[in-house]
Amino acid sequence: MKTVDRFILHTARVLFLGLALASGGLRAHAAEVTVAVAANFAAPMQQLSQAFERATGHRVRAAVGATGALVAQVRHGAPFHVLLLADDRSAALLEADGLAVPGTRFVYATGRLVLWSAERALVDLQGRVLGTPATAVSTGAQPTLRLAVANPKTAPYGAAALQTLERLGVAARWRPHLVQGENIAQAHQFIASRNAALGFVARSQVMPDGRLTQGSAWLVPAHLHDPLRQEAVLLRKGEHDPAARALLAFLKTEEARAIMRAYGYEP
């Protein structure tokens, strides 16, 4: 029995030492940053993470969701270090409530809204499709006309979509046809799966390098909605994480801005 005990103790010690060495070794070189990203920015963030990891050796873990949802999560103790939002209001509110570090927020990108359809000929380049009576739109294979938007209560891109419909004077006409995605990624998925004939998405989702990958689209003129100025902020939980500050600094570099520009964001 004794030898068995000793063996177990020895094994445990070796394991513990190994773990301590491994984690200590990693920590000495690189830190990890947990960043919560608004859904419209998911694709560029992936590329930015890779570039950031290459440049600094730090590691990035990203959680994606609607801006409103992410803010609600932060208010309930989510372990995020950095927030990349889709609006320029939420970060200030978090700062006022002591959840974000004052003086760290800045606009990292300005996004653009796109009216998009997976069908090739549905959306014209002037967006006149919105002006036609909804029932008269040629919807290809789909008799039940659906216009997908992100939930305007939680997603700034959803709010911008409704503003656009209102400023065009067609909001009442389209209201019966609206379906809401929980965030802009789900709105995109509704359209991509053709369950919705068309809808409002972020430019970065359908024009990853400036060109439309599929279907037809109208780049909504920026004056039709409040600007989608997207703020980043350092959260209290990331205050002492070197990787968190490094990531925010990295977003301001020319390398990062080039990636964002490629996705259609205006820095």
Binding site: S193, N195, A196
Partner: protein
């Protein structure tokens, strides 16, 4: 409570009621078949019926969205029939709920039929009851606890459904916005007072259902004792 909340409650109750009725009609013959057939298909059918119990709602929701969509098999069928596309409609939600709650309806009924055995039916047959006659006058009344349990569970499970609704509903007030997704919307928009009102109601409802279920099952065991 806001009119929107009431709308969600009414819609949820309507969805749960229709789902329960449809499920009782579909699940009873299915349970009968599963309880009495010894065919090679039985195991496969039984597994398919149980699938919604173990699959994450995201898988069900995703495949429903694909299947109901204009290019999916169900979507092609509904369009060919001139019904249009079912995603983001109440009917689509109903289809999803029936599939999602199928095991909750089939299993209690199947258990009841299995506990019944073949003997009462054989006796009925010697008394010159036709098989259909025996089914309606002997098997169904004997299996009533199973049927009631199935109804209560189907109803409650549909009321508590969330993931599938989130994925195929599109959050349309009065059509696909149920209480569970309404609560989620309130929480995400940080409207905690409204979320609380609905969530507390949901909690009370679920407790009442389980309590009713416990009472429902008690007389039987007492009778046996």
């Amino acid at each position: 409570m806001s009119p929107e909340s009431w709308q969600a409650i009414v819609l949820t109750l309507k969805l749960a009621t229709l789902t329960t009725v449809l499920l009782l009609v579909l699940a009873t013959p299915l349970a009968w078949w599963l309880a009495h057939r010894r065919s090679a298909w039985r195991a496969a059918v039984s597994a398919v019926v149980t699938l919604p119990l173990v699959l994450p709602p995201s898988v069900l929701g995703f495949y429903l969205l694909v299947a109901l969509g204009p290019q999916g098999p169900l979507g092609q069928f509904t369009q060919a029939m001139g019904w249009g596309v079912m995603s983001f409609t109440f009917t689509g939600l109903l289809i999803g709920s029936v599939i999602f709650s199928l095991p909750f309806a089939v299993q209690p009924i199947q258990n009841a039929f299995e506990a019944l055995g073949t003997r009462p039916l054989e006796v009925a047959a010697t008394l010159r009851a036709s098989p259909l006659d025996a089914f309606f006058t002997v098997a169904l009344p004997q299996a009533r606890t199973g049927l009631l349990t199935a109804a209560v569970l189907s109803f409650a499970h549909t009321v508590g459904e969330f993931g599938v609704v989130l994925m195929i509903g599109g959050n349309i007030p009065g059509q696909t916005r149920t209480v569970s997704t309404q609560i989620y919307g309130h929480v995400e928009a940080m409207e905690y007072a409204q979320a609380h009102a609905l969530a507390a109601g949901m909690l009370a409802f679920s407790f009442a259902v389980l309590l009713a279920l416990a009472f429902l099952r008690r007389p039987l065991s007492r009778g046996a004792a």
